[in-house]
Amino acid sequence: MVGGAHPILLIAVPLFFVFLIVFFSSFFKGIVKYLPIIAFGINLIVIYQLIPEVLGKGMVISTTAGFKPPLAIDIVVDRLSLILAAIGSVLGFLVAIYNVSYIDEEPQERYYALFTLLVTGIIWMVVTGDIFNLFVAFEVTSIAAFGLVGFHRDQGAVEAGFKYLVMGSIGGGMLLVGIIMLYAATGTLNMVDLAQKSVHLTFGQKFLAYSMIFIGLGIEGALFPLNAWLPDAHPAAPSSVSAILSGIMTTAAIYALYRLTNLMFDYKQIYTILLFFGLLTLIFGEVSAYFQQDIKRMLAYSTIGQTGLFFFAFALDSANGFQGSIMQIINHSVSKALLFLVTGGMILRIGSRKIEDFAGLGRKMKFSSFFLAIGAFSLMGLPPFFGFWSKLKIIFAALQNPNFFMVASVVIILLMSVVEGAYFFKLLQNMYFGKPAENLQISEAPAGILISFTILGLILIFISVYPTPIINLTHQVANDLMSKSYINIALRLGGL
């Protein structure tokens, strides 16, 4: 593997830069804000190198400490992880550019270090092949997120941060209990090894361990009754952080849930229960979003709704469902991050988060409004945007074996899409055709913000008009998940 791509660089390089930020913070503070850009720029190169290898072999494994996987922790990048890691790196890179113009509050060096750590933790969560390492990555992510949510230190931020911390800590504890239950049962922590050794467990034992893990990851992944922290924390955080939280962090937790469910807890009963979680999450997210006055809170609830949608698709337990789910994840990550970035720029300019204050911005901030509209359209699933393809796939997958329950669920999904349309169109028409406040003198967002969301918007447009590669890729991923090739390829490559 010498000269090839090392997935471990995806984590090690940003961590290196985190410590570099700390190191420079005392005597060379000017450079600090550019270091995350370099870090995630390198990450993008690594991802680029990984693409042909992962697509070719199906998986790239990187060992640590020179030992074979069940002994040491391994970093496993298969197609699904690659998608998530790529999204994470791209968002990290773009938001790092965004930060340069956006963050002017002190303590900057700590912000940049925490931000880099947050994104690193997210990428870490999706590439690790060891379940305890997953817990560590989970904690890196959440502790960095706690700090960042409280970054503004105002009343709301602190309250949201504390609530998030309490719930996140409980979640972390429960996740650890679940991991220990698995360890007690199998004596190993490697996911592939676990998957093989856990076959002798009874369903009840697995279910109990799974429910503990589900609590932990479900809290982070914003599944319905466990997601109460999210609508508080996302608006309270700086918009750049909200983009990461909404765009990829919840998704990463959901990814971990997918991975573990698929590897170890592949039972019809579990999937059926997950279906209900998905539906409830969808309903409560979208309905609550409709009533919001605060735009970031609205987007946060919308994140819950979207999470419910792709979780529902996953819980269908079919290749089509998996494919739809992953397509929706891609759509949600890109669009929601785009929305948060754009609204961040707007909030910076108008100094308010109230939706009514966005009136007339369509003329003052043309680029911002344009990309806001595109992101909203894609989230609503209107053609020709990418969200349309993913929603199409999900609905088709749900009705693959039409029975009463599935048709009812699809009706609910479609109704919730209408609700989603209702609040997004309210926002859009207020923004474009609403009457602006008198002598509203604002200019377009600053350069860094503009560049970052323009690139993200162009990516969204590109995958919208040319979705074929992603559809093919997600199709492969769905087949991987269905055939559990994760275990097979890992065994072949890792020589466990």
Binding site: M167, F207, G421
Partner: protein
């Protein structure tokens, strides 16, 4: 040939983008691009006259081919879409000039062409995914066109888009159910699958698809968006909506009823009434109700565009009524009426738009006496309302005659009576229109009004001419319609250039004779009028009221509450408004949702933690009770 279907589809979209970019350079470049591309689209369809292309694959999605196809029926709708769009672009150039915000105008032309492209896509679609995709694009692009005109139009547009989305998702559900069965959404595959499906499945499919189409076509009781949206939209957009966009609902209904399933199949699935399958019969009744109720509502309007909007609901009722008859004559009549309605309703909206352009109001009670100031508009409006009322020799007559005839043949007397009532009611409101705008006394503030610029007159005249041409020579349209219907398995009906020859089952109609007779009668009346001038010429302002002299500034107009007595009679019937029912349910849902949202996200950390514990407890209890660990 194959590539050019895609080209036809792409032309308006490219044009829209170019127009938007061109607008950044200069507004005339933008206008020119818009005109050229809309004309190019209209020009390209000439090549497809009477051409049938079974289907070319333009993409592949989830294992289903994406297909474009064309046949004469498609061509008919293509013709409506592209020519109307071209004329509307022409009309817009001057009409929209008063808009000061150039960015808004750039966006306006872009969306206009996008709507056109989306409608071309709908018509050309050979599978349901393509159809649905362009259907959604049409919805949101036209939404942006509607909300161009201020605060009230925003509310109207909001209602429009929400209802459209609901309708579209009903279609989506049907589509997904079909996909689950057929694993492909190409029309032919779907038709095959439906042939072997259970009756319940077929009926559900039709009902769900029909909901989507009825929302767009504004068939009662799903029409509530239309009066607001049509009246609040900018003047050039209203004819697009009324003339073309709601026809897409009719087209979709036609494709589903006769392309995906056939009357024969439908008949075998459900009981028949008057030799019509029950479902079609219900659709007929809905259409007939639309005709009558919308006519009554139109009669009571004070707003010119709202009046026309209600009239659109009523006229689309004829189209749907005709299409749902299931006989060759009825369907042909419905399709023909779709074309005719596009022409005369487009014409009427454009004339009203021209009046608004000059006077700035569309309130009927404020207008009057414009006949001397805008004579061309008056003549055009006159032609339009004659066509709308279904009076020979203009085009509305022929298509309505065909629909009546079809109903008569099926002995559906009630429906026939309702259709007649609608037609009679139409006289009332169109008279109202022409009287309040052009007759009566001229308000003082409009003394300097003159006819609209030439660029706005051209579309009006083209449409006015078409009403006459198609009225005298319906064979031109029948040519396309009959050939197209053969494609869908209807037996051809006999026709010639001037109507329907004697001796066929449906009776005879020769428009040229009627026109000639009318022309002769008109000339005779004219001569008599000239020869024997009995009456004394009185100035328009020479009038009095209750013995008091009416001064110059006090106008004596019958424009307000025109049909008050009539309104009093029918008001109790119309009190029960479907819109109020919708609003009630929406409000109830909102209160319900708000209540539960507040109960769940209480802000209390203890509650949140309790959720977590409850979930764990449920899992644990599940395991303890039935998980069988031990």
């Amino acid at each position: 040939m194959n590539a050019s279907l895609e080209l036809l589809l792409a032309t308006p979209f490219i044009g829209g983008l170019l127009a938007f970019i061109g607008g950044k350079v200069h507004r005339w470049i933008r206008n020119l691009i818009a005109i050229i591309f809309s004309f190019a689209t209209a020009f390209e369809i000439i090549g497809y006259y009477n051409v049938t292309i079974k289907g070319i694959v333009w993409g592949k999605l989830f294992g289903s081919d994406l297909i474009l196809q064309t046949n004469p029926i498609t061509w008919l709708f293509l013709f409506i879409v592209t020519s109307a769009s071209f004329l509307i672009v022409l009309f817009s150039i001057d009409d929209m000039r008063k808009e000061e915000d150039e960015l808004k105008l750039d966006a306006y032309y872009m969306y206009l062409l996008f709507v056109e492209g989306a409608m071309v896509g709908i018509v050309l679609a050979g599978d349901l995914i393509t159809f649905f995709m362009f259907w959604e694009i049409m919805s949101w692009t036209s939404y942006f066109l509607i909300i161009h005109g201020g605060k009230r139009s925003m509310a109207a547009g909001y209602k429009y888009i929400i209802m459209s989305v609901i309708g579209a998702y009903a279609m989506f559900l049907a589509m997904a159910m079909l996909y689950a069965k057929a694993h492909s959404l190409v029309y032919t595959d779907v038709a095959n699958v439906l042939l072997h499906s259970s009756p319940a499945f077929v009926i559900w499919t039709i009902v769900l698809l029909a909901i989507g189409f009825f929302v767009k076509a504004a068939v009662m009781p799903l029409h509530t968006w239309l009066p607001d949206a049509h009246s609040e939209a900018p003047s050039p957009v209203s004819p697009l909506l009324s003339g073309v966009l709601i026809k897409m609902g009719a087209y979709g209904l036609f494709v589903v009823l006769y392309g995906l399933i056939s009357v024969k199949l439908a008949g075998s699935l459900m009981p028949s009434v008057f030799s019509t399958p029950l479902l079609l019969y219900i659709i007929q009744w809905l259409a007939a109700l639309s005709i009558v109720l919308a006519t009554f509502l139109a009669i009571m309007q004070e707003d010119a565009k709202r009046l026309l909007a209600y009239s659109s609901i009523s006229q689309i009722g004829y189209v749907v009524l005709g299409i749902a008859t299931g006989t060759s004559l009825g369907v042909a009549g419905g399709l023909f009426h779709a074309l005719n309605h596009a022409i005369f309703k487009g014409l009427l909206f454009l004339v009203v738009g021209a009046v608004i352009y000059r006077t700035g109001t569309r309130n009927l009670s404020e207008l009057g006496g414009l006949i001397k100031k805008m004579p061309f508009s008056f003549v055009a409006l006159l032609l339009g309302i004659i066509a709308l009322a279904g009076v020979p020799p203009l085009n509305g007559f022929v298509s309505k005659w065909m629909i009546y005839e079809a109903l008569l043949q099926k002995k559906e007397v009630f429906l026939l009576i309702m259709a007649f009532v609608g037609s009679t009611g139409a006289f009332l409101y169109v008279y109202r229109l022409v009287h309040s705008i052009f007759l009566g006394q001229l308000p003082k503030k409009y003394e300097n009004v003159k006819d609209v610029p030439i660029l706005m007159q051209i579309p009006i005249w083209v449409l006015a001419l078409l009403t006459i041409v198609l009225g005298i020579m319906p064979g031109l349209a029948m040519n396309v319609i009959v050939k197209g219907m053969a494609f869908f398995g209807f037996k051809p009906i006999a026709y010639n250039l001037f109507g329907f020859p004697q001796g066929t089952a449906m009776g005879a109609l020769t428009t040229i004779n009627i026109s000639a007779g009318l022309a002769i009668a008109f000339v005779v009346a004219w001569i008599l009028f000239i020869l024997f001038p009995k009456s004394r010429k009185v100035s328009q302002y020479d009038n009095y009221a209750a013995g008091q002299v009416v001064t110059e500034d006090l106008k004596y107009n019958y424009s307000y509450g025109f049909y008050m007595s009539f309104s009093r009679v029918i008001k109790p019937i119309l009190k029960w408004s479907i819109e109020r029912v919708y609003n009630y349910w929406v409000e109830a849902a909102k209160i319900f949702g708000d209540y539960y949202m507040r109960r769940i996200y209480t802000g209390n950390l203890e509650t949140y933690n309790a959720y977590i514990v409850i979930v764990i407890t449920l899992a644990a209890a599940f395991v303890l009770l039935g998980g069988k660990i031990w």
